[in-house]
């Protein structure tokens, strides 16, 4: 069960519409290392985790990722708000407008729609947790690229918050991996 709270985890401030930045931000909304991929990945992998702690951690980080997905979606929505089609066309979002108008559709920065092929759930907790740690690093790198692509202090501020969360999640997944490996070592009979 999930309960929705009518607020963002972190505020989104956008100075003015910025079509290009909206397009770049799609990377973290519907791209391979996006917040959507993160949420679906963790909430899928948790079922087959061997310890209760790790099930809890994946549930909680997966839930926070949904809140981040909402933050990125809000940024894109605000950056595209009120932008007329002729301007979208001028900055290669014309194809996007054709299919989605100003809606916030989960595709990546090049328009490729989100797919479950971006994530894995192998049933092997060591493998899955390694994937999760890699995913957090990939998302951190993407946020660093995005921060360099904007001058808007509000957008930068929110992106820095999201970047920081990737670092914390990476740390927690590392701790979970240690716990799982200790647990598996105890059970191993050769």
């Amino acid at each position: 069960m999930w309960i929705y709270e009518k607020k963002l985890e972190y505020p989104v401030r956008v100075l003015q519409p910025d079509i290009r930045m909206a397009k770049y931000l799609m990377a973290q909304y519907g791209g391979p290392d996006s917040e959507l991929s993160a949420a679906v990945r963790y909430l899928t992998q948790r079922y087959t985790m061997p310890t209760n702690r790790t099930k809890g951690l994946l549930t909680d980080i997966g839930t926070e990722e949904l809140a981040h997905w909402e933050i990125v979606g809000t940024m894109i929505y605000r950056l595209l708000k009120g932008v007329p089609p002729e301007q979208l066309r001028g900055t290669d979002l014309g194809g996007y407008f054709t299919q989605h108008d100003n809606a916030v559709y989960p595709a990546d920065a090049s328009g490729v729609p989100w797919t479950a092929a971006y994530i894995q759930a192998t049933g092997d907790p060591v493998t899955d947790l390694h994937e999760d740690m890699a995913a957090e690093q990939k998302a951190r790198t993407t946020y660093e690229h995005l921060i360099r692509l904007t001058d808007d202090p509000g957008v930068k501020d929110t992106l820095k918050f999201l970047r920081e969360r990737e670092v914390v999640h990476f740390q927690r997944f590392g701790e979970a991996l240690n716990e799982v490996q200790e647990e598996l070592a105890k059970k191993k009979v050769f």
């Binding site: 607020k7 926070e64 927690r172």
Partner: protein
């Protein structure tokens, strides 16, 4: 939204962030007492602040978490993506 509502919302976000961060920390450090006490204290303050906010501005959650005055208030306040901070 009036400035006081935005300010309260920011305070809720800040306290909730502390609670989120402590939740993840406690998930992998369940035996540590100090962060646990911080978590409980933060959660109490957060719940008080949310109740105060909801009395003034309406529910932050539906689904049986918060009550509503009549008529149904859930959709009255702006949605998160329409708020100007």
């Amino acid at each position: 939204m009036d400035p006081y509502q935005i300010q309260m919302l920011r305070e809720i976000q800040q306290l909730e962030f502390v609670a989120i961060e402590l939740t993840l920390y406690l998930d992998t450090h369940p035996d540590e007492l100090e962060p646990l006490q911080d978590y409980n204290r933060t959660t109490e303050r957060l719940n008080q602040l949310k109740m105060q906010y909801e009395r003034l501005y309406g529910p932050l959650a539906a689904y049986g978490v918060s009550t509503s005055k009549a008529p149904w208030q859930w959709a009255e306040q702006p949605w998160p993506w329409d708020i100007n901070y």
